[in-house]
Amino acid sequence: MSERPIAGAPRPYRFPSFEHQRLDNGLGVWLVPLPHRELVSIHLLTDAGAASEDEAHAGLAGLTAQLLVTGTRRLDASAFAETTERLGIEVGSESSWDSARAGFTALGSKLDDGLELLAEMLRTPRLDPGEFDRLKSERLNDILQARADPGRLADESFLREVFADDVPYGRLSAGRPETVEALTVEDAAAFHAGHYAPNVTDIIIAGAITPEVARAAIERHLGDWGGTAPTHRTIEPVQRGGRRIVLVDRPGSVQSELRVGHLGINRHDPRYFPAIVMAALLGGVFGSRLNLRLREELGYTYSARASFDPRRAIGPFIASAAVQTEVSVDAIRQLLGQLERIRDSQPEEAELAEVRNFLIGVFPLRFETTSGIASAIEPLAVYDQPHDWWQRYRARLETVGGSDVHRVARELVRPDEALILVVGDASVLRAELEAADMGPVDVVSAA
């Protein structure tokens, strides 16, 4: 009775088949028919993310993406919201470093109406000055709010401190207050005119569709969209300095938000698979080394984790935890100790197998929803990953062995070069951090 049961036979699972084509105007079309679903998800991706703006206009891509959902030439902000939402459609839009995204999930019967509105929004946005000013001040307020939140403050501060001065990644893709403040609706109109075009846009539709009906709807609403736009600029990340501690003073904090890391990998790094297995083992699952040590053994934190943030160019590698103030210095030591440990020796096969099996087995859970499936197509469209990416994904994980994990850990985890960023109460932490001999300490005030 108490014997652990033997698993049954695994059911086969394949990532759903999809089709890809390019319209005459250059628009990339990706269709994933899931005939037994009742929902449809549409994701539109344009190469108009923060990598497409210049630093003087940092934040413009994000504001432009947000501005799109505030109406079209035909429908003002109120009418556009009313019309879409009465169809049960909540249109979202945002931008990251590598793309601007807009889309929704709705009942399949709403595909044509929804796509018509989405296309109208993309092609003839209203770009209303009043709405622009409102969104701009909301964005500035949100930056203020983020700096009051210790976790978000730590995230933003880490980027600022880990990248060298002239690297765009040293800020949030949403921009800095100084640059956002200076943006105008004319900037947004120029950005839209210059960067939103079919040759740099992909549409992904997953769910309750037939390819014929979806293709016809796309042709109808986006087939005669014209124009061309340039692609993004090239970003060349460089790290600022070597191992050091930056303490962002937040008086009265009962916890310290820790971010320990350095530069990581880009999307096309050949070490991608061993790197994600290594990061999962170190800090990507509940039973990871960081979480077991800092949480389940020491009780220092509710959660400790580590991950890469691969972008088109090299993004950061960060180990993080929020720990009670009194144990901050030892918690940093413990984090660094785990970074050393994963470099020092190859993981035991049992530990590695657990993590690998998790990543392989959890695969279908990621694709339960139509929006999850549409999201899975995004890296194929944005990063030109091969079309058999998901077909080969699990097999590629299976080949990752202990020596691969050890090798990439030695290459990609570099505690000697790590930035140690702490958001916490400097009056309690400063002296102890300076005495800890873990690197030079800079104390800065929370902006």
Partner: protein
């Protein structure tokens, strides 16, 4: 591991599944489209999610819901115990106990619960709320029995694995969870304060699920033993399995693993949750916090989750707060530009009285008086004129799409089935919520708002920047 998730549990439920869920995503088959016309008001087709209910001789309620769309299953064990069951001086204990349920049992080592599920390609977690506590695993379908075995082992034999060291460790973890989510978080204390103001001292809902540091410090190993012996019994639990499995096979496994666990013959009754339906006076509190922008929270006592009035207020919450065409967003955020954001929700509380709550964050330079007046004006307008047909069409269609999206996830189906069984003993309510929502008309909304959104039934909690306050 979550101490609370009110926002995740707030929306009431519809289901639009049924035969459409019967086949896997691959291989593909052609879809017949017959809906060429576009109805002005879309009502999601009231098809039925498969729901089978049975009960073992030891009182364990079992709900099975088969659906082969995705090759995954979810197991959700919900116990009819929560923060409301905590005695004075033991706030936070139900949640701390939930953490202890992951520290091993007679045949499972510390950490092994996680490692076995993860190695099988699954995810797992738990949540504690005022009225119930649940534990859940999502796994590839062929690993169903692993989840059942793990859940049965801790239901049957948690105590042999409990040690002082494990309790001390998880106490520290939970204290850090509290620091992270409440004490070191801007506005983080709002729901704790709100509960304390809406429910009087001594009422089981007066204190928060996460509990106080003092009470967490006081929790002992004897408390763990007593809590387990009192509440963690099959006749106080619901077991739901949802997803890609065969019902007969699952039932055999369930009988094998859970059938031997004895019932608790002296299960105590639920605590008395009786409370006046209205507060009886206006309550106000101002909190100085490390926040850049003031924020106002309002809450009212309302009829409990499961009543017709609650449904009407759930619809009202969406008319006011869901989407960019909602009343508060349109008026306060877009037109008057007095608010940075607005959020409205009802709490799914089943005893005594529930809560209708909202928050609005002030734009810089806008006084809290101005913001509060503008917010109350919108509440009054809705209570006076009621929602329009367009409002109802909008929220019904948004709700249908939202719920269909949630129920694509096998874990969400299992969670909701457990909840309806645990709280109402009616798992099939998952198939009735669309019609319950659709049946709400303008008059029911105005009646419910007029009965509850009275000044003498309102708590106003205002957060202001600490520098401004001092």
């Amino acid at each position: 591991m979550r101490a609370k998730a009110p926002l995740l549990l707030v929306a009431s439920l519809t289901i639009t599944a049924g035969p459409a869920r019967a086949a896997p995503d691959t291989p593909a088959a052609p879809l017949t489209r017959t809906d060429a016309t576009k109805p002005a008001v879309l009502t999601a087709p009231p098809l039925k999610l498969d729901v089978r209910r049975t009960e073992l001789p030891n009182g364990l309620r079992v709900v099975l819901s088969v659906d082969h769309t995705s090759p995954t299953i979810a197991v959700d064990v919900m116990y009819d115990v929560g923060a409301r069951s905590e005695e004075r001086g033991h706030s936070g204990f139900a949640h701390l106990f939930e953490h202890m349920m992951f520290q091993g049992s007679a045949n499972v080592e510390k950490g092994q619960h996680f490692s076995l599920v993860q190695a099988a390609g699954g995810t797992l977690n738990a949540s504690t709320w005022l009225d119930r506590t649940n534990y859940f695993e999502t796994l590839p379908g062929h690993e169903l029995e692993l989840a059942l075995w793990l859940e049965a082992d801790r239901m049957a034999s948690l105590l042999p694995a409990m040690t002082q060291e494990k309790l001390d460790n998880q106490r520290d973890v939970v204290k850090n969870e509290r620091r992270w989510s409440v004490d070191n978080q801007p506005y983080g204390s709002w729901d704790e304060k709100m509960q304390a103001l809406v429910y009087p001292a001594g009422h089981p809902y007066h204190h928060s699920t996460i509990g106080s540091m003092e009470d967490l410090s006081a929790a002992s190993l004897e408390d763990v033993q007593e809590f387990f012996a009192t509440w963690y019994a099959p006749n106080n639990a619901v077991l739901t399995v949802a997803g890609d499995f065969e019902a007969d096979e699952a039932l055999t496994m369930i009988e094998r693993h859970f059938g031997r666990i004895p019932a608790n013959a002296s299960l105590p009754p639920s605590p008395d949750l009786t409370i006046d339906p209205l507060l009886g006076e206006e309550v106000r509190e101002t909190v100085a916090d490390q926040v850049p922008l003031p924020r106002i929270y309002l809450a009212h006592r309302i009829p409990v989750f499961g009543t017709d009035a609650f449904d009407a207020l759930d619809v009202a919450a969406d008319v006011l707060g869901a989407g960019r065409a909602s009343r508060l967003y349109a008026s306060l955020v877009r037109e008057q530009q007095v608010a940075q954001d607005a959020s409205v929700f009802v709490f799914p509380i089943v005893g005594g009285a529930s809560m209708f709550a909202l928050w609005v964050t002030a734009r810089p330079g806008v006084s809290t008086e101005t913001l509060e007046a503008a917010t109350l004006a919108e509440l009054d307008r809705l209570a006076t004129d009621g929602p329009t047909d367009a409002d109802l069409e909008r929220v019904n269609n948004l709700h249908a799409a939202h719920v269909a999206g949630m129920l694509e996830r096998v874990s969400e189906r299992a969670d909701r089935l457990s909840m309806y069984t645990c709280l109402f003993d009616q798992p099939e309510r998952i198939n009735e919520e669309a019609s319950r929502w659709g049946a709400v008309d303008s008059d029911r909304v105005t009646d419910a708002l007029r009965a509850s959104l009275l000044p003498e039934n309102r708590v106003t909690l205002t957060y202001v920047p600490a520098e401004a306050a001092s």
